[in-house]
Symmetry: C2
Subunit: 141 residues, 2 copies
DNA sequence: GTAATAAAAGACAAAAAGGTCTTTTATTAT
DNA sequence: ATAATAAAAGACCTTTTTGTCTTTTATTAC
């Protein structure tokens, strides 16, 4: 479904929400180690998210990545859209050049429904709320 | 969602259902040209499907690919599973090494629902039925 | 202002996916 | 039998994705 990059990015954002805050910024090393993800590769993803203001960062000693209040309000959907591009949610499931109800493929209408489901998966909750649930229900990231 | 290979394969199977039959076998060239898909690349996909008995083929003059009665009964799900592997339907959406309700990721339960939706998209109808709908409703493949 | 720190940036390398071309094998029509 | 045909098989190339390593830039603590 989503690219590996995208999955790494989503998990990293959740890790930030769970383990860091404006006072306790986290370095790439920690995040990468904890999530078992290639460090330098993750670094680039975080830079990309940072550039797109989905996460925040500061350089230098005691610097690192963190989520500011605005960042916590975003959904994983935005993460997906920044890393994999917004088209992941509206390309034809059969690979036709355009997906439209005017010129639909045989799976189009069913696919629309399923897409709703997928959107809800990544858009249903804010990062903040997800983090709370992860804590409360002891989930894995 | 699905790989390019997989999309090519699904469309090719539908094309076979629509335009060919045991008496009128179709060559790779025709299919590739009509679907705008790289010919030799498609050839390999068709071979793979053939080997897995999702489609049928014969060599030599007036040979080609076609669907026998059994083939028409299958669903696109089998095509997907042959080309992309069965795991596309049960890997963790966050990329965790295992997806299970015992050790779920934060998106797991929502993801299960969406997966149902996806399965229905590719499993809801037999090839045969899909072909009929494509004809009746003048859909694009 | 200097040294240490950590992100940003960029150059490369490896692996996987996607794509092309050629040779071999089976089939069939003559 | 022979020639023509079309799938099967396999060698090879290209692009994209994933991953590594090094250098630069900004920040902060001293
Ligand atoms: S046209 Fe294929 S999913 Fe919309
Ligand atoms: S554990 Fe992540 S989707 Fe099941």
């Amino acid at each position: 479904m989503f690219s590996k990059s995208c999955k790494y990015a989503m998990r990293a954002v959740l890790y930030l929400a769970l383990n860091g805050n404006e006072e306790k910024k986290l370095g790439v090393k920690e995040i990468a180690d904890e999530l078992n993800v290639p460090k330098h590769f993750l670094a680039k993803l975080l830079q990309q998210l940072s550039k797109n203001q989905l996460i925040s960062s500061t350089k230098g000693p005691s610097g690192g990545f963190y989520l500011n209040d605005q960042n916590k309000e975003t959904s994983l959907r935005k993460v997906v859209e920044t890393i994999d591009g917004p088209e992941v949610f509206n390309t034809c499931i059969l690979g036709l050049p355009v997906c439209s109800s005017e010129n639909p493929c045989p799976l189009h209408f069913k696919a629309l429904e399923y897409r709703e489901g997928l959107l809800e998966v990544v858009e249903g909750k804010k990062i903040e709320e997800l983090a709370r649930r992860i804590k409360d229900e002891n989930l894995t990231i």
